[in-house]
Amino acid sequence: MNRTLAVIREWINPDWARHRTVPPMEAGLRPNRRLDEAHVLLPAEAYTPDDLVLTESGTVMFSSEESIFELRGDEVRVVAALGGKVGVLVPSGSGVVAAVEGVGLVSVGASGETEELCADRAVSSCVTDAARLPDGSLLVTIGSSHESPGGWARALLRGDRSGRIVRVDGPRVRIEAEGLGWPAGIEVASDTDVLVSLSCDHRIERRMTASLGKPSARLAANLPVYPGRIAATDDGWWFVAPYPRNRFTELLLDEPQLASEMMRTIAPEDWFVPRLRCTTPYTDTLQMGQLRVLGVIKPWAPARSYGLAFRLDGSGRVAESLHSRVDGERHGITGVAVRGGRVVVAAQGYRNLLQPQVANEKAVTQ
């Protein structure tokens, strides 16, 4: 009935129509090929990096499946196997704190010694990102209280709003914010506030550390992507976007009956939702723009998977961005780390680590 009413309203005056739209990638988000041209740090298809940290000595520690690896020069070595899918990594001294699915937060030293930091139920599942506050405690974002980290698509389709921000101070755990739409990234912005990226709301917010329950300011809204993890840098913050928004998915989200039948009858990898990578064309449906015409797939076709990391400056303007478009395959960027002007991103979809040329790394030598 509401739809009929909306159609009539639109017929009477098109200005009254309200549709979910995806804004174009323009201004700072103007597409380029910088991810396609980036250095590849790992052997092809060997790992599935999820998140990474850059240590002071210049080594890269990254999480892949159930282990943490260390990349020093061209050599990759296992630091620790943790018995559960490893997600976010936060630097901690010379080692890292890792979120392990089904376990909780685990501290891992540079030489591989592990120590369980917190195994509370609140942080043992679906940890999406974490940030260390100046007082030493950790702020952890939980994407959903019902889903595993791989359940992002289901959360999106169900309109899941059970995401949380949890403060972990040693073994003590406090839920600071609830009812969020898949918070996917958190990073300290200043002594008093943090940045939170809300994936399902396509929004980046600033929240006071003292009152995390409500946003204090909106840094960016209605992004053309679902934002993810954040890394602070001298002149702003690097964000990754694991998934692009798609106009048909927006339509699908507005058609609950179709969405629920899709979830019920079709295998999750064939759902029409954004994903980290497109693997089997034989079961994947096509959008008209993705048609290969005269041997070429146009790069600006609607994307199911995309590679994007972008830097916001202090005012919330996109200062620069790194892209891999539909014709590329370096998609599904889930992690980013910055140190001394060196930026490395973890392309989970492409299954590799990428080190692109960025505007503020010119002084850095390899």
Partner: protein
């Protein structure tokens, strides 16, 4: 009288598995209705007639008032006719009320004060009206003044002249004068019909015929629609505009004469406010105020409605002023309606044009599962390219005995590649349109189904000759389906007839994706007789695409891209005219079918079904939203980027499947042709034709290019199946 080869066309709708209700496409019917030209005036007119019915039902106005209403309607109707012509020409004439007053007063003065003979007074009154109209016309057409302000000024000026005339001759006007002509005009009758009515009827018919059937009328409509275009097309715009005002003035003069005769007296109030009455009438009748569109017949209905309303107000004893108020309100309402309806009609028709339907497909085969006949492989990947980068979109090709390959191009060309090693090629023929299916006829001449144009035969010198481009329009259809616009594939039968698929009667050949999304039985299969006559043999088919004469020449195979199936239409033998299934529930959307040399058939898939695209076939409403709210590039369609070619036999068994797993060289194969142990792979959006060497055990002795049943083709018995 030629007897039809098929006693009746086969309705393929039941193949969709839909109910009777699914046959109807209500939104599309609405769109077609809105798209009709006559709808523009029909809606305001219908509402106006409804209004008059309402008035007659609620007031004491009845059939007894008809003569009075008609009397009034004839005089004001003449004004309405003149005003309609002016409006159609893109102008407006407000001065007609004053011209009526001046003409009627002038006629009285001429007759009573100056004692002119009536034989002079009658033409003089009409001429005087024309002259006043010519003043308007001169100012507007020559001096280029705005019609509205010009005629407003002349309205006041002519009214002033009438008042001056009245005061100068008021004494003489009071003396009544008997004259047979006055009586005839005022109260006489022709064959029992009052003179005024006869005059009106004659004027109405003449102007209607002139406006709709003469060059002069078309010029007026052209000028009213778009002055600039009219001028650029050589229409003398100024003269046409001038003429409309002269005509309007002449009709106003005639109306004035009739009024004077009927009333037998006159005063300066005659004609006052009539321009508003006439304007209301034409707007009620659906004449557009923006110019270019309108009809005097509808304006006449409008004037009758207005007079009914007037009679209604008189009959209920309401004050005279309330009539003006009602009139003004009606004018305002219908002017708004004219604006909004004119604006939204086309837009609505456009929005509702695509009306997706529901089709039911069976469970989907998983081609990624290893070890089945469908399992993905690399057979097609290494096909050597022909015309790489030169060809744009060869949907089909044909290979002659010498090995020359002919293929279409989306730019409206047919290429020829001389022999297998020619990579340069030459443009063999320029057909225009979108050349799709290719086939050879009995005399080994090339037949091409040209999308958007029809079936063409191409002679050895490359000269295209039209074979067929239309069928009989189906009765009771708002939509004109007589053109063969989306012809796709064709084949020739032993008796020399051509069977051709027309995948949609609605969309153009280049918009095949609309058909994929709409999934409605819009297509048909047409038989073109050797004498050139055409008949529909299968109607209401969903995206019929591939057409292939069976090896025994007694049936043709018809692939339905939308329904993922292949059916056999018997053209000879005991089952002639029957449709029976060969392949059902295929994992992809089949395209052109062609014979293979070993007595089987090649069938490529234009796209493969996916779980998501299958699910969407069950949700027509979502697909409608998709076509309206999401740009074409984001429409969800089946997987078009993969290539799959299958071989099947007459019993409907799948014998083998070939893929290009890299998806790079030959995505979307739309046709395969076998020749001399090689397979030619064509793709409607590819930039090459692939040539693939077949294994020797895949090749048989039949020439797939020959028409089955002709002497050049060995009979089936030779082939060991």
């Amino acid at each position: 009288m030629k007897t039809k080869a098929f006693s009746r066309e086969i309705d393929a709708f039941p193949l969709t598995g839909g109910s009777r209700r699914d046959r109807l496409a209500p939104f599309r019917t609405l769109s077609e209705l809105f798209g009709q030209r006559w709808m523009e005036g029909a809606v305001p007119l219908g509402l106006a007639v409804l209004l008059s019915v309402l008035v007659t039902a609620t007031t004491p106005v009845g059939p007894g008032d008809a003569p009075l209403i008609l009397d009034e309607a004839t005089e004001k109707g003449l004004l309405a006719i003149g005003l309609t012509v002016v409006l159609v020409g893109g102008g407006i004439d407000l001065s007609i009320g004053s011209i009526v007053g001046l003409a009627s007063l002038g006629a009285m003065v001429a007759s009573r004060a100056w004692n002119w003979p009536m034989a002079l007074v009658v033409p003089a009154a009409i001429l005087a009206g024309s002259a006043l109209g010519a003043v308007n016309g001169f100012l507007i057409a020559r001096v280029n003044m705005r019609p509205f302000i010009t005629t407003l000024v002349t309205l006041v000026a002519f009214g002033g002249a009438a008042a001056a005339l009245q005061s100068a001759y008021s004494f003489q006007l009071g003396v009544p004068e008997q004259d047979i002509v006055w009586d005839f005009l005022g109260a006489g009758a022709v064959a029992g019909v009052p003179t005024g009515w006869v005059v009106f009827a004659v004027v109405l018919i003449v102007v209607h015929v002139g406006l709709t059937r003469s060059r002069w009328g078309w010029w007026i409509a052209a000028v009213g629609s778009d002055r600039r275009s009219a001028r650029r097309n050589g229409i003398p715009v100024a003269r046409v505009v001038f003429c409309t005002y002269v005509l309007s003035g002449a009709l106003a003069g005639t109306a004035g004469l009739l009024t004077a005769a009927r009333l037998g007296r006159t005063d300066p109030d005659v004609g006052q406010g009539w321009e508003l009455v006439a304007l209301t009438a034409v707007v009620l009748g659906g004449v557009s105020l923006k110019g270019g569109r309108g009809s005097v017949l509808r304006a006449t209905v409008g004037i009758v409605v207005v007079q009914v309303i007037q009679q209604g107000t008189i009959a209920t004893g309401a004050e005279g002023s309330s009539y003006t108020v009602i009139l003004a309100a009606a004018l305002l309402l219908f002017a708004v309606l004219d604006l909004k309806w004119g604006k939204y009609r086309q837009r609505t028709a456009e929005k509702l044009r695509i009306d997706p339907g529901r089709i039911t497909l069976g469970p989907l085969v998983d081609v990624t599962e290893p070890g089945t006949v469908w399992t993905v492989n690399d057979r097609l990947t290494d096909a050597s390219p022909i015309g790489l980068g030169k060809i744009e979109g060869a949907e089909d090709c044909a290979v002659d005995r010498e090995g020359n390959m002919y293929c279409g191009d989306r730019r409206g060309w047919v290429w020829r590649f001389a022999g297998p090693d020619d990579t340069e090629g030459e443009i063999f023929a320029r057909t225009g349109g979108l050349p799709l299916g290719h086939a050879w006829d009995h005399e080994r001449r090339l037949l091409v189904a040209v999308g958007g144009m029809g079936v063409y035969r191409i002679h050895a010198d490359g000269e295209p000759e039209l074979v067929a481009d239309k069928v009989r329009r189906s009765p009771f259809s708002l939509h004109d389906d007589s053109g063969l616009r989306a012809v796709d594939d064709l084949d020739v039968t032993p008796d020399g007839a051509i069977f051709v698929s027309d995948f949609s009667t609605r969309t153009n050949a280049a918009e095949y994706m609309v058909e994929l999304v709409e999934s409605r039985p819009n297509g048909r299969v047409v038989r073109v007789d050797p004498d050139g006559s055409t008949e529909v043999v299968i109607s209401h088919h969903v995206f019929p695409n591939g057409i292939c004469t069976a090896h025994d020449g007694r049936s043709i195979l018809v692939a339905s891209t939308g329904l993922c199936r292949v059916d056999r239409l018997w053209i000879a033998g005991p089952k002639q005219g029957q449709l029976e299934p060969v392949l059902e529930n295929l994992p992809g959307h089949p395209d052109n079918i062609n014979r293979s040399s070993d007595g089987n058939y090649w069938l490529p898939f234009v796209s493969m079904r996916t779980p998501m695209s299958d699910l969407l076939t069950k949700y027509p409403a979502v697909r409608r939203r998709m076509t309206q709210e999401v740009p074409l590039d984001s429409w969800v369609v089946p997987q078009l980027n993969v290539s799959c070619v299958m071989k099947f036999n007459d019993r409907g068994e799948v014998l083998g499947v070939m893929w290009d797993a890299t998806l790079r060289n030959h995505p979307m194969v739309t046709a395969v042709k076998e020749h001399a142990g090689h397979l030619y792979l064509c793709g409607v959006s590819n930039n090459r034709v692939g040539r693939l060497r077949l294994e020797s055990d895949e090749v048989g002795p039949i020439d797939p290019a020959s028409v089955p049943g002709t002497t050049t083709a060995p009979s089936l018995a030779v082939v060991d199946r």
